[in-house]
Structure formats: C-alpha cells, structure tokens
Symmetry: C2
Subunit: 229 residues, 2 copies
C-alpha cells in the first residue's frame, strides 16, 4: 500500500538573513545572482532544499555554497508562501536568521552566486524576489530580540567598550540613545564583567573594556529575569 | 525561456495548533484522522497546500474543513522539515497558532477528519506524525507570549474577574501564582477597566468584573512599554 500523494507540488527553498556588525553600522550579507531569474541582481543567499536534507541543513549548505560562511548559528525566521513570489512557479521559502561578526568570517562567492558582499543597512539595493520583505521581517526580529535578549553580544567582539555596545544598539534600533541612561541600564543587569584593560577610541580618553557573562545570564533567565533595554 | 526547475520536490502541508480556555484548564483542538497514515489517531488539524493559495489561506481552509472553525486569527508558528517526519514521503509542514474561546466556536469534523474535539492539555493522547513536537513548540510560544504580551485577553470572555485571569495564567504557565502579587502586578499596568458589575463564583463573595483596554495597551506599547507577568 502506497501513501504517496497525487497533489501538485511547488518547490521549496531556504533563504538566509545574515546580519553583521563591525563597530560602525549594521550590515547584511547579500549575493549577486549568477543565474536567471533576476540574474545580476542582489539577493539573500539561499536555494533549493534537497529531498535528503532537513531545512536547517539546507540553509547551512546554501549559505556556505554561496558566501563561504560556515559555523554560523542559524535560527528559523519565517516561511514566505505568497502564490506569485517567484516568477518561475510556486516556490515557498523558509527564511533563516543569523548574527555574525564580519571580521571573523571571510566571504567568497560560489555556485550560483557571482559575488557575495556585506552591505550597510542604509545602502541596500533593490533585492530579487520578495527578499526585501524577508529582510524587513529579519530586521523586525532583530530589533525585538535585541530588546528582550542579550543577543547584541553575538555581534560584538569578546571584549568591548560601552560606547561600542551603545553604537550597536543605536545602529540596530535606528535611533540615538542617551549615553548616561544607556550606561546605567546596561550595567544594572550585572551581566557585564569589567576587565583589567582599557581601549583608546579616537580622541576620547581610554574606555573600560567589558565582556559578557553568559553563565550569569542563564542563571538570571532561569529565575525569570527579563533583559530589557 | 522557461525558468522551471528540475529539482525533485516534496509535498507541503499546514498544521494548526489551536488553544482554547473555558475557565478551567487550557485546551487544544484535535482531529481524529479519517485516512491513512495514522488512521484513527489524533492529530493537529491541517492538510496539503494547493498551488493557488497562500500558506495562510491553506491553514484557514484546512482548519475550517476539518473542524468547522472559522474567523480565527492564525499566526505562523514554525516550519517543520525533518527528512522522515512523514512515512509517505518528504513532507514539510508550516505550523500555525491560534487562541480562541471554545464557547464561541462550534466544532464539526469534516473532509479527512472523523472527529474534532477539545482536549485538556493534561489529557492529550499520543499524536500522529511529529505533532507532539509541533504542539510543544506551540505551548512554548504561548507561554512566551503570555509573559510579554497581553494575549491572555484573547482567551477570556470580554468581561472577566481577576481570579479568572489568574486561573488562565496558572493553567498556561503550569504553576500556581500568589494571588496578592498577581493582583497587584496585573492592575499596575492600568490595562484593566473595572466595570460596574460583579460576578459570584462558587462560595466566594462576588468578584469585580473587568475588561481589557486595547487602546491603552497600544498607546503604552508605542511608548516602549513592556507588558510582563
């Protein structure tokens, strides 16, 4: 007895929204499409899911194939299934979301991509398919998470200064924060460990370096603590 | 020029995690499968996505076809794509999530379902496919949302008492809450409008009725207010 269904079927893809922060502005990793449709245009890295791989595996594989990025923690973002989102035929895409430090990952275009490059959020070109909408959903998730979870630390180097952390928040949230309030609030959680080091940035006096305390965060979370900026 | 892809393709389904609360315990809406595989077993309502409908449309259609439930606000939950999650072949399922008041919705099994019924969370049978995992993901989302958003009010009648609200929180979170603290906290948000009515519940003295103030919640949210229980 066979259970195989006779339903007409569309194709299934994965797409990756990869955010990076290098100290200045928030960035996103895009590829230039090497094949039609939208050949030559910029798009999120992604591609078709094979029958023998899970969605997570497909996302990791496509990201590495098209951008060279490996060992990235990908989290599922949302599935996009509007009927005409792909000019070829019905294609449903499961979008993924990742945060990385661009310095730690060299990018290299491969397979179906002609180029892979980091773009500042303020300078993103028109994207192929509905990828602008997917990116918008990713930005919304990033902003939400940044307010409720200390994920900002994934985007920063291990040692960072408070001005660096503030710049990250400002660049993701898209507005300026009061230095004094930010400092007070972020230190109040007890999640930042001050180090015996300082770093000079520009013409200012050297700034204290900190590192994030993930063990303390886990402990607080288990007590029902809410991180909030 | 045709862009059609030659990739082998799996099937795509939607599944719905519908929670309800009738004052006592949290419930979930399940259907009894009328066809193989897992014929006769309980499962989440759902089915195959047609080429000419969006994922949201498919979820609404399947929910109505299999349970009679209409006019429900469905929100996308997560997409499940493990390679062997369906014994027939590769099937990826986009799960949806909804909160309803069971009293307001009559259920009626149709099409591929033999029965549609509300189950108390504590009495859920073994489910078909990976639906226990999908349900678990839905419960986790519900618990998270209940802490950060005033969604509990979607599960309650328009007028409710504080003991009713507390019972809802306890039943979703799975632990008892201190009556005094709960009352103090929930009233501190200024989101509950006391009504000129009381309701007697059991042997206790009549309890004040309240209704939720969605306009005030919207205003507070725009000011960056965080609802937290």
């Amino acid at each position: 007895m066979s259970f195989t269904y006779e339903y007409p079927r569309g194709a299934l893809t994965v797409d990756c929204v990869v955010f990076g922060f290098d100290g200045g502005e928030l960035k996103i990793l895009l590829i230039q499409r090497g094949i039609a449709p939208f050949k030559g245009e910029w798009a999120l890295p992604g591609g078709f899911v094979s029958p023998d791989e899970s969605l997570d595996e497909a996302a990791l594989r496509e990201l590495e194939e098209e951008t060279g990025l490996r060992n990235v923690f990908l989290e599922q973002l949302y599935t996009f299934g509007a009927v005409n989102r792909d000019p070829r035929e019905r294609v449903v895409s499961v979008a993924y979301f990742a945060l990385v430090q661009p310095d730690e990952h060299t990018t290299e275009a491969q397979t179906d991509a002609d180029d892979a490059r980091w773009f500042q959020i303020s300078e993103i070109p028109e994207l192929a398919f509905d990828h602008s909408e997917i990116l918008k959903t990713g930005l919304k998730r990033l902003r939400g998470k940044l307010r409720y979870e200390p994920i900002g630390f994934e985007l920063l180097p291990e040692k960072f200064t408070l001005p660096q952390l503030q710049r990250l928040y400002e660049s993701v949230l898209g507005n300026e924060l009061d230095k004094r309030n930010f400092r007070k609030k972020v230190l109040s959680f007890g999640l930042l460990i001050p180090l015996d080091e300082k770093r000079r940035e520009g013409p200012h006096r050297p700034a204290q370096l900190y590192r994030f305390d993930p063990a303390r965060y886990e402990a607080l979370k288990n007590e029902g603590f809410l991180f909030e900026i």
